[in-house]
């Protein structure tokens, strides 16, 4: 069986039946995303690798609990990675540098999956839209959003780290998310 030809959901089903080769293929597809999310959260390559290992072991152990009708595989994996990273930050009291967080705001090469071109094009378009929307946010809003998303910091913690008033941080987060919603909606309609 050529696992590269299978879609993500089929790989998860095979992993639930203890097919190592399916896990290997899923790793090839998502290890960069998992590692990069973790690295943005903890700021340390060794800890990010530890989280990457942990996330894929969780997928191996819990693939049977995945429900395709509830979320995409990408969303499921990103969610596990994010919460695992935030948990490690809390447990180990990690204080990552703000510079370690990097949104991709420059256009980059699209990684094409030659088997599932349609899905890749859809994800690539979405990636372009999200990156473009984030690039249009003011730097201070991007920074506050990064602390909230990657590190899981609360408003109060972000205010402490940045040395800004609590109300200012609340406003930045709210405006950033509202602006993203507006920009992504506009972009989506423009693509249709």
């Amino acid at each position: 069986m050529d696992y590269k030809e299978l879609d993500d959901q089929s790989l998860i089903r095979l992993i639930a039946r203890s097919q190592e080769s399916a896990l290997s293929e899923l790793y090839d597809r998502y290890s960069r995303l998992v590692y990069s999310l973790a690295l943005n959260a903890v700021g340390d390559p060794a800890t990010a690798e530890e989280i990457t290992q942990d996330v894929f072991i969780r997928i191996w152990d819990h693939a049977g609990t995945y429900q395709a009708e509830k979320s995409k595989v990408l969303t499921w994996i990103a969610s596990i990675t994010r919460y695992r990273s935030i948990d490690i930050i809390r447990r180990r009291k990690i204080r990552p540098e703000s510079q370690s967080v990097s949104w991709e705001i420059e256009p980059s090469a699209i990684e094409m999956n030659p088997i599932n071109v349609e899905e890749t094009v859809e994800i690539s378009q979405k990636r372009r839209r999200v990156r473009q929307a984030i690039s249009m946010l003011p730097e201070e809003q991007r920074q506050a959003l990064a602390y909230a998303y990657f590190q899981g910091y609360t408003h109060r913690e972000i205010a402490e780290v940045l040395g800004e008033p609590l109300g200012t941080v609340k406003t930045r987060i709210r405006l950033a998310m509202q602006k993203l919603r507006q920009l992504l909606e506009q972009e989506e309609h423009a693509d249709e």
């Binding site: 995303l33 919603r181 992504l184």
Partner: protein
Amino acid sequence: MSPEEHFFDLLPAYALGSLDEEEQLQVSEHLAVCAICRAELQDFDQIVEDLPLAIVQSEPAGDVKNKILAYARKDKDFVERTSEQTWWARLAQAMRASAPAWGIASLLLIFILGLSNLFLWGRLNEIERVSQSVLLSIPLQGTDATPQAVGMLVVSQDGEHGTLVVDGLPALDEMSQYQLWLIRDEQRTNGGIFSVDEEGYGNLWVSSPEPLLSYSAFGITVEPTGGSPGPTGVKVLGGEL
């Protein structure tokens, strides 16, 4: 706040999980009764889902994959070994094959079971005596959301380790897990995450950075898969030391 008043300003931060505990709880309670805010929240949840697409991606070191696959291989071998036919299963098969002698064997079996019951009765009394002296059991009660749920946290004499056993909890979808919280001075420390089977039974080996007996209370909430830094979901079990 009534359902007519909304939390629109807090929904973006709620989706990100960046509200303080009290605000998070207020919004959760409001969302349970307000369809308008639930619909509004969906947009922000979608943004949070899309944010990973905007990061710079880089490769992890080469040996990470090898370690993951080595774990999977070892785990698979273990499962295959344990699923092989056991000695007892082979014995049962042999007994079925020797059906004519089954009546005599049954009588013998009943005699052996009688003896073993006597032995087990003695052992149970002994274990009860020992457990009273070296283990501490903390009962956990269900909440209004889960009145049928029960739980027990059994802590070792030195208070360093414990085992949590729960029953009667609703089985969750793949996006959610139960999370144990160790509570002291209003501070909640993660005690571990777990799931339950379809019958609502689950267990968790609990190991905390500080002795379990140094905490004053324990609670269990529903959280996103992988756990949360602090409680955000519905409380389902709780108990005090």
